[in-house]
Symmetry: C2
Subunit: 367 residues, 2 copies
């Protein structure tokens, strides 16, 4: 039996208590300052209110002020916060981590500096941890197609535990693996994290298609816009592959669970797709965000602002060509510059050969 302490009681972190308690581990779930009501609910009834699932009675809920107690003696220290909370989590870790602990993060996103250099979020997570302690814990992350609620109700789920040390990954994956929660491992840490961040961006774009249909008065048409969705999916897959080559990831990562697998599940629904649909109807990003509620966090949009915002800088430095990543650049025009959506069809897949009617000045209907 292992002891696992989790910082953050969001739906993903809380869902992961299910395979852990199925395996008989000691699980301590610590709410952030935003999770007080969740922890209160679990303490009272065992039910996670956002998941609407009753957690095992062996999960021990803690409010943030008791975090140090919860992490004491833990073997595995999980970061369960989302990308908006990763800097905060890094500030908490110095007082929570002990040498020998294995850190495991579920956060999906990327970070960029002023020069446009991109880095993966585990690097942000370890930033506030003093060098000496940082090198005496291990850093790994979970990626792959995994809707939290489905993990919580034990639907078959296949994920990848990623990090630099194979022996650590073997140990962590054995701790989580059940008959429903299937775990692979990968030492392509950069590749896995890049996929996890970028798939959110492209899954958001898949949502455009339904919105465009609505705007055209075709919402009830027999014929949907699946061809449209598939193009954005395939271009997303192509751009993820390109970014992996650029940052040193392995291409297999892009067309397995972390890349197309996770993009598929993210495109199947959720907030990213909903904001995409609203943008497809003709709203700007600001208007769409207003419509969903300003307090709704949109990780896909945030990742677009980071990654899309880095592209012009990388282009200026000659790291990439102006024609690279056309979909991510179009997404950045929407999320970063608040422009209306224009899908640059002919710039996809290395550029459509210029000939035929489309090149002869016929009016374009870009969206």
């Amino acid at each position: 039996m292992a002891t696992i302490a989790i910082l953050g009681a969001g739906i993903m972190a809380s869902a992961l208590t299910v395979p852990l308690t199925d395996n008989g581990h000691d699980v301590r779930l610590v709410g952030t300052h935003l999770d007080r009501d969740i922890i209160d609910s679990i303490k009272k009834t065992g039910v996670h209110p956002n998941l609407d699932v009753k957690l095992s009675p062996s999960v021990r809920p803690y409010q943030l002020e008791d975090a140090e107690e919860a992490f004491r003696g833990a073997e595995i220290a999980m970061s369960g916060v989302n990308s908006f909370g990763v800097r905060w989590a890094s500030q908490q870790f110095p007082r929570l981590l002990q040498p020998g602990m294995h850190v495991l993060a579920v956060t999906k996103g990327m970070d960029a500096n002023d020069q446009g250099d991109l880095r993966i979020l585990p690097e942000v997570l370890m930033e506030q941890v003093p060098d000496d302690l940082r090198s005496r814990v291990t850093w790994s992350a979970i990626v792959g197609p995994s809707i939290a609620g489905e993990v919580a109700v034990r639907r078959h789920t296949c994920v990848v535990f990623s990090g630099k040390e194979q022996s650590v990954l073997d140990h962590l994956s054995a701790t989580f693996r059940t008959n429903h929660y299937h775990v692979w491992t990968s030492t392509d840490f950069v590749g896995c994290e890049v996929c996890a961040a970028m798939k959110n961006c492209y899954a958001l774009s898949v949502g455009f298609a339904e919105g465009v249909l609505e705007a055209q008065g075709e919402a009830n048409s027999r014929y949907r816009a699946h061809n449209y969705e598939a193009v954005l999916f395939a271009q997303g897959s192509t751009e993820i592959g390109h970014m992996l080559r650029l940052l040193g990831g392995r291409i297999e990562t892009a067309y397995g669970l972390p890349g197309v697998g996770d993009m598929y599940v993210t495109a199947a629904g959720g907030r990213n797709v909903r904001v995409g649909r609203l943008i497809g109807t003709g709203l700007t990003y600001s208007e769409a965000h207003e419509r969903l509620g300003r307090d709704v966090t949109l990780e896909g949009a945030a990742a677009i602002r980071v990654i899309g915002g880095a592209l012009p800088k990388l282009t200026e430095r000659g790291v990439i060509a102006p024609s690279d990543f056309p979909l991510m650049r179009a997404l950045y025009d929407v999320m970063g510059h608040d422009q209306h959506l224009e899908v640059p069809w002919s710039s996809f897949f290395g550029g459509e050969p210029r000939s035929g009617a489309a090149a002869e000045g016929a009016p374009q209907q870009a969206r």
Copy 2:
């Protein structure tokens, strides 16, 4: 203006008359012996009954007995039949083709010989054409995510014209390209055709998930089985990549429009997914086919029988390892051997590391 003669008036071939007539070309649509009612309807009303779309009045419909007249003087000769009709189409071609014509096929599938050697369908299509004529026409095909009805109502669609001669592909693509029908080209003929065939198989498997939910009494649950679907999608993508390496295709083909793009659109609906759902509920393939109607053609199932049936032979010859293509082998157990579905989760992605509860003899719920 070019003249295009099309053999077969199914939905895909007929939908392709839309970009062609939008570009002002002369289009002659020839029904097979199975398409008599379709041609009669188009002659009378212009409406393709299965598409439920009115074709341009400039499309000229022909019954099969007038095929030679329709093909006379055509520059582009299309094969619009599905994989069940490709041998028949090859028998028709010797009397229809003239030297200098460009053949363009829409058929998706593969063929295998007794040794398990796989070949692409354009090779079957050219088989009955005498050598002399065969070498004096060109052979190309259309692949990529393209639901016929969406092409017919001018939804944005991106496809790839594939063949061996770049200049021919440039010419053909310019003939079809419009502001909604975007066309790329690829000389990775084998890679494109392999993707087109295999994506049908894996898209069918994505349908299992909903059926399994139904069988578990979870059809109305808040939590679907998208994680399950995503695994089959990602494993499908991985196996397509493997087959491309084996047959000499380019890996980019697998993660662009022909591979994951087309698999995405195929998984979004249609007969392949419906038969998958029925199998997920616990039916055998025979029972599922009976339920859908024995006269319903299932190209995904047919491709599984061809490709999955070739794998044991390729394994025996040492071309592939017994652990390669675990999902296609599982699909073949269902479609070829009429067994009940068992998803071999732990054999995916090179094999799940064996440790933790799943390996300790705990009862498995494979489906």
